[in-house]
Amino acid sequence: MLVTFIRLLKGYVRFRTSGKSPERFMNLCAQRGIILWNAQPTAQGLEACVSAKDYRQIRPSARKAKIKTKMLKKRGIPFVTAKYKGRIGIPIGMALGIALLILLSQFIWTIDVVGLKTVSEQRLLDLLVESGVKAGAYKYHVDTGQARRDILLEVDEIGWLSVNITGSHANVEVKEKTQKPPLEDNPSPCNIKAAKDGVITKITAGEGMAQVQKGSGVAKGDLLISGVNLTAQNTVRYVRAKGEVWADIISEKVLSIDKQLHYNSILENKSERRRIHFLGAQFPCSLSFRTFENTAYTQADDSFTLNGVALPFGIVTETAWELSDESVTLSREQAQSIFDTSSLLYEIFEHGGGKRTGKQFKIEETDSSYIYRINYVFNENIAESVDFNVEE
């Protein structure tokens, strides 16, 4: 394999001889230090290979052995370069290509982050940009150690981080910390009181003495679990009461919406502006002077990819869409649909910790709006810790 490669590098010729004594020719060549290989006997003489450099030197041996030689084929790099000798553009293009390749390999093209579980990837990428690790950065000016220290100081959740630059690719490996459970560090005693009015459905007292039972009705601020315990010796012990008290609570929500609903609608008319982005820099490649009175903008970044890796160049398309003011008169069914969505969001985001056990609603209609009254029954934990001081 290596020998074949060297022969191709130096160039070689396959030739045919015709004459009576090819053996004499081979012996003369061997005496002159000319190496022949892949020699095959033929009806007229033989076929063999010789290096391009030695081909001229076999002629005296051929004359002495009274044989004729004929070149069959030429192979190797010297013959290829000789073919393109007059074309100056090819070596210049090759040199420029190699120079461009060397130049571009000095920069970071892509960044890959692995190992994130809870920390946002975008947050980490922003911090990397602040530390100089970004697409288009000159890789020999990037201080990966400093970037690592900065990010570890900035993000508490990260326990270990490594920035490895391989070629033009920066690979950021992250290991997040295992979070410690929150420790109760408040030593003062406390009671558990009701945060809302309701009817108790379940009570679980971890520390302290329960003061209410299942089925008890409680008002906001009532004592549920006491932090004052009586011991067997009839003395008082103050503890930090813990526990969960679940109660059915009644909640009323009123939503309203105008009958005449105004909104913006995106029309078909649009204006696109494209920019080429390359290693962090952007260059406009199309112009558009079309403007609208009301506009909404969208931006799409189409980076080129190679084997699933986004390359640091592509086309950014910014589209301006024309908006129109629309107005619609809502029917009762349409209003009901909007109210259902709003009430669902209210249940999820304002009573997410509890469970809805009942719901009654009523739609009222006035001249200009619809009003949606909902009476909920939620089952929630209403326990609220209230510290108290003990004085001798």
Partner: protein, 82 residues
């Protein structure tokens, strides 16, 4: 006895050729002084005081240099002619 024969120095062998064989498919002769006959069934190599004759089929010279010859093919017979 065999060990004693193996220890005979090369000078005492009278510059005899060194023959390496890989099965019956390849032979390398070091110390050759020329090719006397080159056919696909028979190749005769001069090696100092003796002539080596390789018989077989599809014989060819893979490489020829000043003192080394490499023969490949299906070798069925080797003769030492003086």
């Amino acid at each position: 006895m065999a060990k004693e024969k193996a220890r005979i120095p090369r000078m005492e062998m009278g510059f005899a050729p060194l023959i390496d064989m890989v099965g019956n498919r390849q032979v390398t002769v070091e110390g050759s002084t020329g090719i006397l006959l080159y056919e696909s069934e028979n190749i005769k190599v001069s090696a100092g005081r003796m002539i080596l004759s390789f018989g077989g089929r599809g014989l060819r010279l893979r490489c020829i240099s000043g003192s080394c010859v490499e023969i490949s093919g299906f070798i069925s017979k080797i003769e030492f002619l003086t």
